[in-house]
Amino acid sequence: MVALSQERLVTSADAPARRSPPPSFDRFFRLASLASALLVLIVLLGIIGSMIYGGIPAFREFGFGFVTSTVWNVNEDQYGAWVAIVGTLTTALIALVIGVPLSLGIAIFLTQLCPPWLKRPVATTIELLAAVPSIIYGMWGLFVFAPLFANYVQIPVSNIVEGMPIVGTILYARTPSGVGILTAGIILAIMIIPFIASIARDILDQIPSVLRESAYGIGCTTWEVVRNVLLPQAGVSIIGAVMLGLGRALGETMAVTFVVGNANRLSGSLFDPGSTIASRIANEFNEAIGLQLNALMALGCILFLVTFTVLVLARLLVSRVKVG
């Protein structure tokens, strides 16, 4: 280290004397970084602004009925968002119901049960799951998962529940093709697992190990440590992590577009095809003209408001967790 710095000193001795840059550069640098930071703010405002600007004609035409109407008829220029809103919320809810226990399990495994040598490979695997592009999940869902799901879940379950009250409606597939709301929810669950799991792991890691050790010291089992020490400690932050996952699930586009079935139909069955806000925009936007374009923009506006609210709540609940 000493030799190295001496060498540096010697080599730099014959270089011209270092001069600090002119003071104007210092000011310029400061302004440039401030401008870049403000740009982030402007982009968000721009997104809100463009959604509202694009959606206003549709809101003006249909009023509040736009949100509650189930009609989406391109030929008659009548548009309503209710089917897409319900589809978005249902798929996201299914994703949470399946994804949250799985992600918490993975986080607990990584922080409490995993032998040290296995930690890095497992963590990397889960994080790589997050790096896979969403369109690949869509292809996997449509070409691999959906046929299996139709054969081994939809058909047997439909046969069993046929004619039963309530369950016979919710879990009955009229055309067992494998695609539908439930399939989309399952694919979304797989997609949000890495996000929730890695944030939950970071949160659990931040809990001082003294707490854990003292619980083990008085003879608690791992389950009791998790249930009575870790979860109460991490509580609110974990809810924040779940909300972050919810934000992802609400706005996810490509994977859902592949497997949701893209039907404008309000069905009582989870096996039936439906559509979400994002999938409808992805499907129709490029061919849309006139009022349809505005209606799609208005859908985008609704999606933005919903995800924005969820993300703000998430951000308030989860204290800033380190990246990487």
Binding site: S20, P21, D26, F29, R30, S33, L34, S36, A37, L39, V40, V43, L44, I47, S50, Y53, L102, G105, I106, I108, F109, Q112, L113, C114, V122, I126, L128, A131, V132, P133, I135, I136, M139, W140, L142, I193, P194, T221, T222, W223, E224, R248, G251, T253, M254, F258, I281, A282, F285, N286, M297, G300, L303, F304, T307, F308, L311, R315, V323, G324
Partner: protein, 301 residues
């Protein structure tokens, strides 16, 4: 615990010590259940990743041939062809996005870590950045459509690049800020004590110390935008030709190509979609692994 001895002393099965020792049975069972379930869930996660990769390899390798890398995408229903235009288009769009996003992201991250710190404005921008980080990417596509495609009168590679840049910026801002915050304040003070102005301290000391982490941020952002489909649908679109050198009109790119070809009824198109999916996933996974290795080396040092 000498179980055998106790067992002989109390022959009734009700009082016999169970294999779980002195721990009450329900506690033992709950503990076991937790361990087994958590392990199972983790195995399931790894299994899904393995399954997806296997699917890509099985379906994709069959479609790979030299023609895939040299010829342009074929018309509907025709035979042969490749995805060379989509690969090059994707590269150009990604590079364009990163070239726009890197300076903006690094400077904004620098502002948050070095100038703004905990001021009101910095807090707001941090908040907004976290929201942008998780905002649905399709909305960014809509925004850029309104911002660039409509005024410019058509789809263009420039719009695609900007849309990707908007997705990359928050990632770079976040990692840059986090990495700069890890640089010890005494280093900056040492620089300032030598009479260096703030900009020099940041460029020559802070950035240098945080270099590896910042490069990681840029790599992660690249991996993130390379596979983004939704924002390109309404901005760069896709077509079956080589794009104009001025990037106006549709620019072929892998994600949108995969989306259109995979859902098409033509066997040939679907094979090309699988080949493209394999190429893009492998590149992205390789990029993320490299980024992670880089970060780990930095931490060790």
């Amino acid at each position: 615990m000498d179980t055998a001895l106790q067992h002989r002393a109390s022959p009734e099965p009700t009082t016999a010590p169970a294999p779980w020792g002195r721990v009450r049975r329900s506690r033992h069972v709950a503990d076991r259940a937790l361990k087994i379930i958590c392990t199972l869930f983790t195995v399931l996660g790894a299994f899904v990743l393995g399954w997806i990769l296997l699917m890509l390899l099985v379906e994709g390798i069959g479609g790979l041939s030299p023609a895939v890398f040299t010829e342009t995408t074929p018309g509907p229903g025709s035979q042969g062809g490749g995805i060379a235009n989509a690969i090059v288009g994707s590269l150009i769009l990604t590079v364009l996005g990163i070239m726009v996003a890197t300076p903006v992201g690094v400077l904004a991250g620098t502002y948050l870590a070095e100038y703004g710190k905990s001021s009101k404005l910095a807090e707001i921008i941090r908040f907004v950045n976290d929201i942008l980080l998780a905002a649905p990417s399709i909305l960014i596509g809509l925004f850029v459509y309104m911002l660039m495609v409509q005024p410019m009168g058509g789809y263009s590679g420039w719009a695609g690049g900007v849309a990707l840049a908007i997705i990359a910026v928050p990632v770079i801002v976040r990692t840059t800020e986090d990495m700069l915050r890890l640089v010890p304040g005494s280093l900056r003070e040492a620089g300032a004590a030598l009479g260096a102005p703030m900009s020099t301290v940041i460029i020559k000391i802070s950035w240098k110390a945080a270099r590896a982490g910042m490069v990681t941020g840029v790599l992660l952002a690249t991996a993130r935008i390379a596979g983004e489909t939704a924002p390109l649908l309404f901005t760069a679109l896709n077509n079956n030709f080589w794009f104009n050198p001025n990037l106006m009109g549709g620019v072929a790119n892998l994600p949108v190509m995969i989306y259109q070809f995979a859902l098409s009824p033509y066997e040939n198109w679907r094979e090309l979609a699988w080949a493209g999916a394999l190429i893009i996933t492998m590149s992205i996974l390789a990029l993320s692994v490299v980024a992670r290795l880089l970060l780990r080396k930095d931490k060790v040092r």
